[in-house]
């Protein structure tokens, strides 16, 4: 049985689901952030698979841009988490309730 596009897409969907599950269940800001990275990587895998099976490189250029933007996003997000930790001494979402009614 040869490996086709749908095999890669199923792996990508499962990886995305794992990331989503991590964001929903884990309550630590850093682990939630890592789960976000998992979801981004799942989207990258789908784009590379589309690019290979459609026989052109546009999808791979898209993945290149996604990796760049993800690096910038991680830098800003982690700086925000560090600033938050300085104010609140916690990186746990259940301790950050000042906007709750």
């Amino acid at each position: 049985m040869t490996v086709g596009l749908e095999h890669y897409l199923i792996v990508s969907a499962l990886l995305f689901a794992l990331g989503l599950l991590g964001v929903i269940t884990r309550r630590n800001l850093l682990v939630m952030y890592m789960s976000l990275e998992l979801m981004l990587n799942a989207a990258n895998l789908a784009l590379v698979a589309f690019s290979w099976f459609n026989d052109n490189l546009n999808g791979q250029v898209m993945v290149f841009f996604i990796i760049t933007v993800a690096a910038a996003e991680v830098a800003v997000g982690l700086a925000l988490i560090v600033a938050l930790y300085r104010k609140r001494q916690s990186a746990h979402v259940e301790d950050l309730t000042s906007m709750k009614l």
């Binding site: 890592m34 791979q60 988490i81 300085r86």
Partner: protein, 167 residues
């Protein structure tokens, strides 16, 4: 050979990905970060199977190298000892499993119903550095330059955010 490698790397990716979000042995964020590195490296293996050699190298260098070092720096900077004592709430776990399971069922059923890519010709385009670079500097020149400005903006923002007296 290709099939065996695909199943090998796919299984590795999913197992390590599961260990990132729920590790039965340790709740320490450092373990999660190390398993995320392993997930990213096995994903790079899948990229090589898809002939995206340049992206596989970038994935290892940028993600496993730069981004994860940033993560580890921040984890070590914050003192997260108490994280290991917290329990995962049962209600959140059940809600998460139900909603994520529903999404997976929708994904997989729609994929199996439509069978995408079943009648495509066999692909030949290699994703090597020369081909990708040529495309980046011709068709995608403007997005490429905008991304460099985005990186500059992110850098300035991070420096501003990590100043001691944040107003």
């Amino acid at each position: 050979m290709q099939e065996i490698l695909f199943y090998f790397f796919a299984a590795l990716t999913l197992i390590f990905g599961a260990l990132v979000i729920a590790n039965p042995f340790s709740r320490n964020p450092v373990t999660s970060a190390m398993f995320l590195v392993l997930t990213i490296i096995s994903l790079a293996g899948l990229f090589v199977l898809l002939h995206a050699f340049f992206l596989a190298a970038v994935q290892v260098i940028v993600y496993a190298g730069a981004v994860m070092v940033l993560f580890l720096f921040v984890i070590m900077l914050l003192d997260l000892e108490e994280e290991e004592r917290r329990k995962i709430k049962l209600a959140g776990l059940v809600a998460g499993l139900v909603s994520v399971g529903a999404i997976v069922v929708i994904f997989v059923r729609s994929l199996l119903a439509t069978k995408p890519g079943s009648n495509l010709p066999s692909p030949t385009t290699e994703g090597d550095t020369a081909a990708l670079g040529k495309l980046l500097f011709t068709n995608y020149l403007l997005p490429f330059e905008i991304v460099s400005i985005l990186l500059l903006v992110a850098m300035v923002g991070v420096i501003l955010l990590s100043k001691k007296d944040l107003k």
